[in-house]
Symmetry: C2
Subunit: 315 residues, 2 copies
């Protein structure tokens, strides 16, 4: 398939880098200020080098991406909340042009799910968004394959930054501020870590899951969310005396979404360590399926994007 990639951060660049390995061609790559467009395929290595050294990606305008012939719009611009713009508009344009869309951008899928599905129904193109939930872990495709109606709940750890912080607090007996600083030094937490530590990032993912289970009906404002910023080190020490630890756990059912710190058995499935994520998919016919892996990262998330591309029907 021919891919037009909107977004040249870690994920966008990794998608461009790995596309060839999956048998696809990149005909456009754009960030917010410039673009490289070539119907015969852009020179990926050269374009990525320019981006990484701070130069303009190319001589084209981001608008030019929509003028070009592509099969799949890969929407990997930063997640925005509320109206989920400009991501939503990008998706709308592609679907109205009867093209496919694959998203890593959580905004449109969490905040305006029913509108996306309505646009998809009118389009020859399809939308897929595995990369919005759990990075490399195949969550949405697993739910799709066993049919959403057969899934009763999805639970788990879907934010690696918060999980890393809690893992380190427990392991070293350090306090939150200290470990957050360590996480930022390592690049595990961003300079502004708010959405990771206050539970918003995890909540967006569980909202997406609830929308898939219930075929819409939820947005971020419907989620009950508590973050990890107020957990004292002593809480983890206390938990450890009882063979437990604390993790930021989320749950999505057809009734809603909750995210918050919870006590879990120290050696249990939910006590994943470091930046690892885990989902537990509860099914009616097949018991509980657990999947864990790397929930974030450029290449990791790119594999989810490219896995989606592989599952799109020909246009």
């Amino acid at each position: 398939m021919e891919l037009a990639i909107l977004g040249a951060g870690d994920v966008g660049r990794s998608v461009a880098n790995l596309a060839g390995e999956y048998g696809h061609e990149v005909v456009a790559l754009a960030d917010s200020t410039s673009a490289a467009v070539d119907p015969d395929g852009i020179a990926v290595d050269a374009v990525l080098e320019r981006k990484v050294s701070g130069e303009a990606i190319g001589t084209d305008d981001p608008e030019d991406v929509f003028e070009t012939d592509y099969d799949v719009l890969v929407e990997v611009t930063p997640t925005t909340l509320g109206d989920a713009e400009p991501g939503f508009a990008h998706v709308k344009r592609a679907l109205e042009a009867d093209r496919h869309v694959v998203l890593a951008n959580k905004g449109p899928v969490a905040e305006r799910y029913e509108e996306l599905r309505a646009l998809e129904a009118e389009s020859a193109g399809s939308i897929r968004f595995e990369a919005t939930v759990g990075g490399a872990i195949p969550v949405l495709s697993t739910i799709e394959d066993c049919t959403p109606q057969a899934v009763t709940a999805v639970r788990g750890v879907l934010n690696g930054t918060a999980n890393f912080i809690l893992t380190r607090m427990a392991a070293e007996g350090l306090d939150y501020e200290h470990v957050l600083a360590e996480a930022q030094d390592l690049g595990v937490a961003e300079a502004d870590p708010t959405f990771d530590v206050d539970g918003t990032d995890a909540a967006l993912k569980f909202v997406i899951l609830a929308n898939v289970l219930g075929d819409g009906g939820f947005a971020l404002e419907d989620a009950t969310v508590t973050g990890i910023q107020d957990i004292p080190g002593s809480a983890l020490d206390l938990a450890a005396e009882d063979g437990r630890t604390i993790r930021l756990i989320g749950e999505a059912t057809r009734d809603g979404i909750r995210v918050g710190p919870r006590l879990v058995p120290e050696n249990g499935a939910l006590a994943v360590t470091g930046t690892r994520n885990i989902v537990q998919i509860e099914t009616r016919n097949a018991g509980s399926l657990h999947s864990s892996g790397r929930g974030a990262g450029g290449p990791e998330t790119a594999t989810a994007v490219l896995s989606d591309v592989g599952r799109l029907p020909p246009l």
Copy 2:
């Protein structure tokens, strides 16, 4: 899709039972002696009742299944080794008639993989076989989605009977014979448990995985296999003193297949308990993906079969 099911054991009956839930119709169900065939869809409940009460499934002959109009042959007859017959012949007939085939029968896929793929290449139909590896756990579809070339190895616990026995030996300090009897009483081990306890069942699954990774080249005879029958209770006690336990672990790479008992950390990912299975898929771009769940059972395996049916292209 219209399904013709060959095999009326636990899995075949569960596929017939759940097919409607997934939007499919059962036009034929056969065991080795009789069949129920109806192009408008068989009366599943009535047919299953007859099977379960020991009566003939229907008034048709198993041969009649191939005369009927169907989209997908569901091959869930008992696994046989070597020439993998009669399963292989069933698959061949369906592919030569340009029909799809979905297997839970491991024989043809483990023992005659390249021949299957050659038949598939000449057919309008496709073969899928998620249900041959890991029951309800999405193993092959995960490898397919991230592309086999990106997977370097698959490791894990893929036989629930052996895992149950080892879990119980460790938990209760009982010896192998005692726990095997308990497993048979519970229906977790069969009257003849040989293939489960000598590692053959697990080996077949890892042979299938190696064939997927390497696009053929392996059969059961290529696997290095050791079972659990000779493990004394004292070995587990010794392991426990060191924070370890013993599990029957298999590994498949492009170089081959090994199955045997191994020491693993007591609380590590590979130390799944009871009849649960786990696979660790090592990937080049996305680190290690772990998936665990119920590796066997009628409904569990049926969900894998029906998941495969859902991924077949229209004929």
